[in-house]
C-alpha cells in the first residue's frame, strides 16, 4: 500500500503555481529525501500531505484518505518544521506530556532520554529556545511520536554539526527498530543521503526525479578534457551541466548511459571520467539555466 500519493496535484497562489501537476507515490516504511531549490515547492507539498493546506486541483491520498481536515490522517502523521507553534504557557516537559496524550505510539522513555542527552531544560518554554535548540526539541517530538508518517521539513536548521549527526543517527536507529514512512526535506543532501532509501527531487513544483538514492549515484558522470574534444564528443549525450575552465579545458555532467566501449573510445581521445556527489548533481539538475555563477562575472 502506498502511504502517500499525489496525483496531478496543483497548488496555485493567484497566478503563481507552487505545485504544478505533481505526481508521485511513496511506498511504506521508506525514508525518502525531498530535495529541491528554494521555491521548488517542497514545503507546500509537505503541508498539503500533512493536511494543513488544501490543493487547488488533483488528488492527494495519505493512508488512502484525503488528508485535509482529516482526523485519522492527523492522528497518524506528524510534521516537524521550523515554525511549529506551541502554546506559550507550557514548558517543554508539559509539551511532551501533551504530545504523549495525543500520539498513540509516543515513547516517553525515548523522549526523556533524548531530552537529557541534548541537555534541554524541562522548565524552559518553547518560545524561549534558540533556533537550534527549538529544532532539536521539535525533532525529539518527531522521533518519539513514532507516527506511521513522519515528516521533517528542514529539521537540522540551526543545529550545530554534532547535534545534526546525532539526530540523523538517532533517526536511523529508531527507524530500524520501528520502521515507518519518513520524509526528510533538506538543503544539505550530503548530510542525509546515507540514511535515505529514496530521493524525490522537485523542480518548479514538478517531480524531476524519484529513485533509490543508490541509483542516483550512477545516474550521471563527469567528463572533462580539452574543450574541442569535449564539444565534439558530447553530441548525442544528455548534458546536465557544462562549464569551461581555465587552459581551454571543459567539464560536463552527462547522463550515465555509456557503454564500456564508448568510455574506452573517449579515454583514448584524452577525456577523463569521474563521479559526482549527489549533492552537486542535484544542484546541477535543478539549476535554472546552463552555466552558473561564473557567467554573471563573464558577461561584463
Amino acid at each position: 500500500m502506498s502511504v502517500l500519493e499525489f496525483d496531478s496535484v496543483t497548488k496555485a497562489y493567484g497566478r503563481k503555481k507552487a505545485l504544478d501537476n505533481l505526481s508521485f507515490s511513496l511506498g511504506e516504511n521508506k525514508i525518502t529525501g525531498l530535495i529541491g531549490r528554494n521555491g521548488a515547492g517542497k514545503t507546500t507539498m509537505l503541508k498539503i500531505a500533512a493536511g494543513f493546506m488544501k490543493e487547488t486541483s488533483g488528488d492527494v491520498r495519505a493512508f488512502g484518505e484525503h488528508p485535509f481536515n482529516n482526523l485519522m490522517v492527523s492522528a497518524n502523521m506528524i510534521m516537524i518544521d521550523n515554525d511549529m507553534n506551541m502554546p506559550t504557557a507550557l514548558d517543554l516537559e508539559e509539551i511532551m506530556a501533551s504530545a504523549a496524550d495525543f500520539y498513540h505510539n509516543w515513547d516517553m522513555d525515548l523522549a526523556k532520554k533524548l531530552f537529557d542527552y541534548f541537555s534541554l531544560n524541562p522548565r524552559q518554554t518553547h518560545t524561549g529556545l534558540s533556533k537550534g535548540m527549538k529544532n532539536t526539541f521539535n525533532a525529539i517530538l518527531g522521533l518519539a511520536s513514532r507516527c506511521p508518517l513522519t515528516i521533517f521539513d528542514e529539521p537540522t536548521n540551526g543545529m550545530d554539526a554534532g547535534v545534526r549527526k546525532d539526530f540523523y543517527r538517532a533517526l536511523l536507529k529508531d527507524y530500524i527498530a520501528y520502521p515507518r514512512t519518513i520524509i526528510i526535506s533538506s538543503h544539505h543532501l550530503s548530510e542525509v543521503e546515507d540514511i535515505l532509501e529514496d530521493i524525490l527531487l522537485l523542480k518548479d513544483g514538478q517531480q524531476f526525479l524519484h529513485m533509490p538514492v543508490e541509483e542516483l549515484r550512477e545516474y550521471a558522470v563527469v567528463v572533462s578534457g580539452k574543450e574541442e574534444a569535449i564539444n565534439s564528443w558530447l553530441r548525442g549525450h544528455e548534458v546536465f551541466h557544462k562549464s569551461d575552465q581555465a587552459f581551454g579545458r571543459s567539464y560536463a555532467v552527462i547522463r550515465n548511459d555509456l557503454t564500456d566501449d564508448q568510455i574506452g573510445v573517449a579515454m583514448k581521445s584524452g577525456l577523463e571520467f569521474s563521479t559526482i556527489s549527489n549533492e552537486d548533481l542535484c544542484l546541477y539538475l535543478t539549476s535554472q539555466e546552463k552555466g552558473g555563477i561564473d557567467d554573471v562575472f563573464n558577461k561584463g
Binding site: 521508506k30 525514508i31 540523523y168 543517527r169 536511523l172 536507529k173 530500524i176 550530503s190 546515507d194 540514511i195 535515505l196 532509501e197 533509490p212 538514492v213 543508490e214 549515484r217 550512477e218 569521474s274 563521479t275 556527489s277
Partner: protein
Amino acid sequence: MILNSESMKPIYVQIAEWLETEILGESIKSDEKVYSQYQLAEMLNINPATAAKGLNILADENILYKKRGLGMFVSAEAKKIIAVKRRNQTLKSLVAELVREAEHLKVTEEELIAMIQEAKRELKGDS
C-alpha cells in the same frame, strides 16, 4: 570498516567488497552467518535498504546463501568465487591501468616485468 563517501564506488559495492575481504581473510568462515542488513545499517550508519543491496550482490554471486527466517550465510565455495572474481575483474583492470601508464611513460614490456618482479621480491623481503 569505514565508508568512503568520496569514492567512485557506490556504498553497497563498498559493503560487498568489504564482506568479500572479511570472507577471504576468514574473519567469517563458510556456513557462518554474516551481518544482517540491519546490523550493517547500524554499524555503518546507512539505510538498511542500501545494506541489503550489498548483501544481495553477494547472494546473486552465490558467495552468500539465504536461510529463510535466519539470514544470510557464507557458502562453501565463497572463497573460490571471490578469488576468481577478483582475478578476472579487479586484477585485470589494475593490470590494464598499469600497462596504460607504462605506455604513457614509454616503459618497455621487459622493464615493466622487471619492476613487477622487484616489487614481488620486496613484498617477500618485508614479510
